[in-house]
Amino acid sequence: MKNNAQWEASLFELIRRTSVDLPSDVEQALKRAYTGEPKGSRGRWVLETILENIRTARAQDTPLCQDTGTLLFSFQVPVGFDTNALAAVTRVAVARATRMGYLRQNTVDSVSGESCSTNVAHGSPLFRFEQCARSTVDVRLLMKGGGCENMGRQYSLPDPVLGAGRDLEGVRRCLLDAIVATQGNGCAPGVLGVCIGGDRCSGCEQAKHQFLRRLDDRSEVKALGKLEDRILKESRTLGIGPMGLGGVASLLGVKIGALSRLPASYFVTVSYMCWAYRRRGVVISAKGGLQRWLY
């Protein structure tokens, strides 16, 4: 990998834009949610504040939420690409974005309790690499705050309390339960990322991986697409509303994936993404130049 400065500039721009500017599919969904709340209601006021916040953060080039979150980088690289060098230059970009206030000093040593001033530490940022038959690098960044991350949960079916068996009806019950258990505490209206199956670990990763999808897409697996639509529709009857202060829009979307499982296990893993759903992606040329934006 050559042209480190060029690479760093492109990755820095990805971080900056992710922090200050929500993708248009998310903003559109929030606008629709706003018009769906009655005039003069708390829900409408919350969404009005959210939309104004999005516009102001973009215009003034500041982080739209102070919790700039866990930084999850997903790379698709050409076969044989030096991913160590790519990780190293990404860390440099993260440290600069922190210094410039696009990222909060958001990383704490879990043993000593010490705060890290650069966000570059053991386990931060997080990387996922995939080799593909391509000549460019595709980078997607998710910034996921702690408030919504704390709301994630994992069910093991059957669950007698929920009356949830090992089928899609059981999954439906888990998801509705997860929405009610979360209330507005993950900064509603948010998005559910779900994985059916896998083991405890891969289920969590796959659930979160769903957040790389656009809000306006639908699972290509017909049964899952139907379930996504249904959960979203049913969530509107729960009355939780924006920030859990009451209202119609308790969710913006539901994204469900599935992994194969062992005969003995049936996990349903739910990750909650807040409305400040920071997701951006870029295609970077082999020379490090920013080629085009994804999403």
Binding site: G40, S41, R42, R44, W45, V46, T49, I50, E52, N53, T56, A57, Q60, T62, P63, L64, C65, Q66, D67, T68, G101, R104, Q105, N106, V108, E114, S115, G145, G146, G147, N150, L162, G163, D167, L168, E169, R172, R173, L176, D177, V180, Q183, G184, N185, C187, L227, R230, E234, T237, L238, G239, I240, G241, M243, G244, L245, G246, C274, W275, A276
Partner: protein
């Protein structure tokens, strides 16, 4: 509707001011507020010495993005962090320090509701994630405590705010808006479980 008729709260926050508020009311807070989150709450709960007098004051659950420029400290983002984590600490802090206003986000339990009732305190819910809009309500950074000990995110920032918007989630009678919403959603969930058309393979 409450949202169209804001109530005003101005520092120092008296029992009379908070006593007039009801859950669901829309309020605009002005004056001095202190930020504090996990570390400050543990510290105060453990009877650590408080460098300021919190009586009739407000604690804002917030870890702001603050940068030091030519004109001193500037707040770039300052939305609420989840208050629920402080449930174990807050009742004691409200009682010991006479705090009158808590600003944050997320569900609070019975212990905080009871401390609110006893102390004439209110819990105000801000819009989570709206960090830029809320940072713009900060007119001045008046100082900082525990910056070195807790780090800049966890520090106790003294902020002067003007018309900071929030919704009364727990009033000084100990009533909780979020609990009411939760109860309603549990009833609706039972309905979906009982009568919702089951998915068949």
């Amino acid at each position: 509707m409450a949202v169209l008729n804001p109530r005003r709260l101005t520092y120092p926050f008296t029992a009379e001011q908070t006593g007039a508020l009801r859950t669901g009311d829309f309020v605009l807070v002005s004056g001095l507020v202190y930020t504090g989150r996990d570390r400050l709450h543990k510290y105060l709960f453990d009877d650590g010495a408080c460098p300021v007098d919190l009586r009739d004051g407000a604690i804002y659950h917030c870890g702001p993005v603050v940068v030091h420029g030519d004109k001193g400290w500037a707040v770039r983002a300052a939305g609420p962090t989840t208050s629920t984590r402080e449930e174990g600490y807050l009742p004691r802090i409200i009682r010991n320090h006479g705090v009158r206003v808590i600003i944050g986000k997320g569900s609070m339990g019975k212990a905080t509701a009871q401390a609110c009732r006893e102390g004439g305190c209110v819990y105000l819910h801000a819009v989570g994630g709206a960090a830029k809009i809320l940072a713009d309500k900060v007119s001045e950074v008046k100082g900082v405590h525990f910056g070195a000990e807790f780090g800049l995110t966890e520090a106790m920032w003294m902020l002067e705010v003007k018309d900071f918007p929030a919704i009364v989630a727990i009033d000084s009678r100990g009533r909780s808006l979020l609990q009411r919403v939760r109860n309603g959603s549990i009833r609706a969930l039972r309905k979906l479980f009982d009568s919702g058309e089951k998915i068949t393979p």
